[in-house]
């Protein structure tokens, strides 16, 4: 199963082969989960959304015309679900409370060099995460795909269904916003 190309697995899965689809899940679970996690910043929601992504992909497989790669199509589902997650979250909670929840739910299992460094690093990371959270969603989605996932502008543009120039412009704008908010730190 591991040697079979994605396209063949997709065709099998379309015919109802659950094992073929499970192999696709195995291949892309980490990338999908890590992307979603950059949006949610907590593992519980990331797990839920990752499951939802794959379930939605499975249910929609018959509609997938294979004009793009399975990976691109899957990413699109994950990003859309993550953005919708944000919309709902914003409705449910006030912005401030939202940020506080974020900062308190993060893992902290690294070993600091010293208490001073630890404290400074924590503070800096908190500020950076808060600044990223204030980015408009369109900018944030581009930022996550390019910076955290290491995608090229072309790859990100396929997932976000916009031009490379738009991704490039959003990256520039996102960086300007971050620099403005973090100027006392950098």
């Amino acid at each position: 199963m591991e040697d079979i190309p994605d396209d063949s697995l997709v065709k099998k899965a379309k015919r109802g082969d659950v094992e073929a689809f499970t192999e696709l899940v195995r291949r892309y679970q980490k990338k999908i989960y890590n992307t979603i996690f950059q949006f949610t910043r907590n593992h519980l929601d990331a797990d839920d959304l990752a499951q939802e992504t794959f379930m939605k992909a499975f249910k929609s497989l018959k509609e997938f015309k294979q004009k793009s790669s399975f990976f691109t199509w899957l990413y699109r589902i994950a990003v859309n679900l993550s953005l919708n997650f944000f919309k709902k979250r914003e409705k449910e909670k006030g912005r401030r409370e939202f940020l506080e929840n974020y900062s308190s739910s993060e893992g902290a299992d690294f070993s600091p060099a010293s208490p001073e460094n630890y404290s400074y690093k924590r503070e800096l990371e908190k500020k950076v995460k808060e600044a990223i959270d204030t980015l408009p969603l369109a900018y944030k989605a581009s930022f996550i795909l390019v910076v955290f996932q290491g995608m090229t502008h072309a790859q990100a543009s396929q997932i976000l269904r916009c031009s490379e120039n738009t991704v490039s412009w959003r990256m520039h704008k996102a960086r300007k916003i971050l620099q403005n908010k973090l100027k006392s730190y950098f």
Partner: protein, 198 residues
């Protein structure tokens, strides 16, 4: 060379998306401009910090269990639930465009009547379509917000709940237009132009 253009190219450069020719131009500019040099260094420090931040890790067994969880969920699905139509906006933009052109005109005149007294009704006539309107109201945050709000409200009204949930439009009205793809912006522009002609 203007610093604004260099700042944009610095961003492209950090993403390894800058051509060799532009890279040389950036380097030449940086030798002369300390502001842009500082900007580049600041951008690189932010990039480095973001990439090296700690986000916590999932337990080692998670990746082994996850595909199994999905497999079990699929097995429990009923066959009739396996068909799910994807969200396709496509042709609906034509109708949305017509609705929003009218809605924008009405909305702006209701929400921002005093603008009329300052600049007559030029902005609201859509004489030169979306781009012109965007330029006219650029810098006036209140008017930009109203403009975006009315467009978004008209689309929201048109889409059913499922389509709205599946859409990726920004909840932030001030960045709504930024969130549209070029294709969507062109369609909006086209529909507004049609509205002007009629």
């Amino acid at each position: 060379m203007k610093c604004k253009k260099i700042e944009k190219w610095i961003s492209d450069s950090i993403d390894n998306e800058l051509s060799e020719r532009k890279r040389e131009q950036v380097e030449n500019h940086l030798q002369k401009c300390s502001l842009c040099r500082n900007y580049k260094e600041s951008m690189e420090r932010i990039q480095s910090t973001v990439k090296n931040m700690d986000y916590g890790k999932v337990s080692p067994g998670y990746w082994g269990e996850f595909p199994q969880k999905i497999r079990e969920k699929i097995m429990s699905l009923e066959v009739k639930d396996r068909k799910l139509r994807p969200f396709a906006l496509g042709w609906k933009w034509a109708v949305v465009g017509a609705v929003l052109a009218i809605a924008v005109a009405i909305g702006l005149s209701i929400f921002y009547p005093r603008f009329k007294t300052v600049q007559e009704v030029y902005v609201f006539s859509f004489e030169d379509s979306l781009e012109q309107i965007s330029q006219e109201i650029s810098g006036n945050e209140e008017l930009e917000d109203i403009f975006n709000l009315v467009i978004m409200a008209s689309i929201r009204e048109f889409l059913d709940e499922q389509e709205w949930e599946n859409s990726t439009y920004s909840y932030d009205v001030s960045s709504f237009l930024d969130g549209l793809t070029e294709e969507e912006l062109s369609l909006l522009d086209l529909e507004i132009k049609k509205e002007i002609k009629s």
